[in-house]
């Protein structure tokens, strides 16, 4: 199942993205730990995308619901020439939170895709 949320490119709307991520994470039957990871991850991704968006941009957050995994995509028009840099603290944070992570910039549209799934970390 896919759910999409269209938000203004303003940091305060991160709260809505977080709430949606947690809510869908619960539907995916993720554990508390992973729901919290998803919440932090989308907060970080949302903020990075907003930071590089033109003032009037719209951010689209798309969530893909599966049992045991939540995938989300944060997307907007961007001022960046490339995808998000990956040698930053922010990217390190995202990499630790998500099991899979990609960023791209196609024709001025910046995308961050992250997947948070059950087990990987739980096995430890």
């Amino acid at each position: 199942m896919t759910v999409a949320l269209h938000l203004p490119a303003e940091p305060e709307y991160a709260a809505l993205a977080r709430t949606m991520a947690a809510s869908i994470g619960a539907r995916c039957e993720l554990t508390f730990d992973r729901v919290e990871d998803a919440r932090l991850a989308i907060d970080e991704a949302f903020n990075q995308v907003v930071l590089n968006a033109p003032a009037d941009a719209e951010i689209v957050c798309t969530f893909i619901e599966e049992i045991g995994a939540l995938e989300f995509m944060v997307q907007s028009r961007t001022l960046l020439e490339d995808a998000l840099p990956t040698n930053t603290f922010s990217w390190t944070v995202l990499s630790a939170l998500a099991d899979e992570l990609h960023t791209s910039n196609v024709d001025g549209v910046l995308t961050v895709v992250a997947r948070v799934q059950e087990q990987t970390n739980e096995a430890a």
């Binding site: 709260a15 977080r18 709430t19 947690a22 809510s23 994470g25 619960a26 039957e29 993720l30 554990t31 508390f32 730990d33 992973r34 729901v35 919290e36 990871d37 919440r39 932090l40 907060d43 970080e44 903020n47 930071l51 840099p85 040698n87 930053t88 603290f89 922010s90 390190t92 944070v93 630790a96 970390n121 739980e122 430890a124």
Partner: protein
């Protein structure tokens, strides 16, 4: 003083709390003020020395006022969380720890909801409260922990490695430790909670708060 006598003393002087709290009505929820003021009153009952010849109220009123003022100062944010939600967040936090103990793994949201006999939506609301609270007072989290391993941790080569290091060093020890364990050692929140002997909700609150701090430090450079 016997517990019974203490209770009586407290009950007898509740009026003082209401009296003081009324002055601060416009600053916060009246009920919260009463609650904080009560702490001041209890302190006063426990510490009042009648041998000094003062009236109890002379001693108690400044205690109550102090407690309330301290509370108001401590609210670094203007975000108001209704008492009902705070209570809910506390319940969820305890349930998470209990369930983790029982099953030795992090519970699902549905499990938490079933355990507390509340809706999934309520559990989610509690999580968001936790996130919001992360921007507020940190009093209950000023826990001393062992020296942080910041200096020997394997921080990768950031373009702005030095500024990241600097920003991390500026964090309180506990925050530093939690960030390093989560993002560099890749421990789960549950594992960090066990290692540092704090609750999972505290770990997630610290992470949320610390990321906000670091983000603003690093982007303002």
């Amino acid at each position: 003083m016997s517990a019974q006598k203490r209770d009586l003393e407290i009950a007898e002087h509740i009026g003082l709390v209401h009296h003081v709290a009324r002055h601060y009505r416009s600053h916060a929820e009246f009920e919260d003020l009463i609650q904080v003021g009560m702490e001041g009153l209890i302190f006063a009952v426990d510490h009042f020395d009648s041998e000094l010849g003062n009236e109890f109220s002379t001693y108690a009123v400044p205690c109550i006022r102090g407690a309330i003022q301290h509370h108001l100062r401590d609210r670094t944010s203007s975000i108001r969380i209704p008492g009902r939600l705070q209570e809910l967040a506390l319940k969820v936090s305890r349930a998470v720890d209990e369930l983790t103990q029982i099953h030795s793994r992090s519970p699902t949201i549905a499990t938490i909801a079933a355990h507390l006999d509340i809706s999934v939506e309520n559990v989610l609301a509690a999580l968001e409260v936790n996130h919001t609270r992360s921007m507020m007072s940190t009093d209950d989290e000023r826990i001393r922990i062992a020296e942080s391993s910041l200096d020997d941790s394997n921080l990768e080569d950031f373009e702005n490695r030095e500024s990241v290091l600097q920003a991390l060093r500026a964090l309180p020890k506990l925050e530093q430790k939690v960030v390093l364990l989560r993002f560099y050692e890749n421990l789960t929140q549950t594992q960090i909670a066990n290692e540092l002997n704090i609750s999972q909700m505290q770990v997630s609150r610290i992470l949320a708060r610390t990321l906000i701090t670091l983000r603003s430090t690093l982007t303002s450079l």
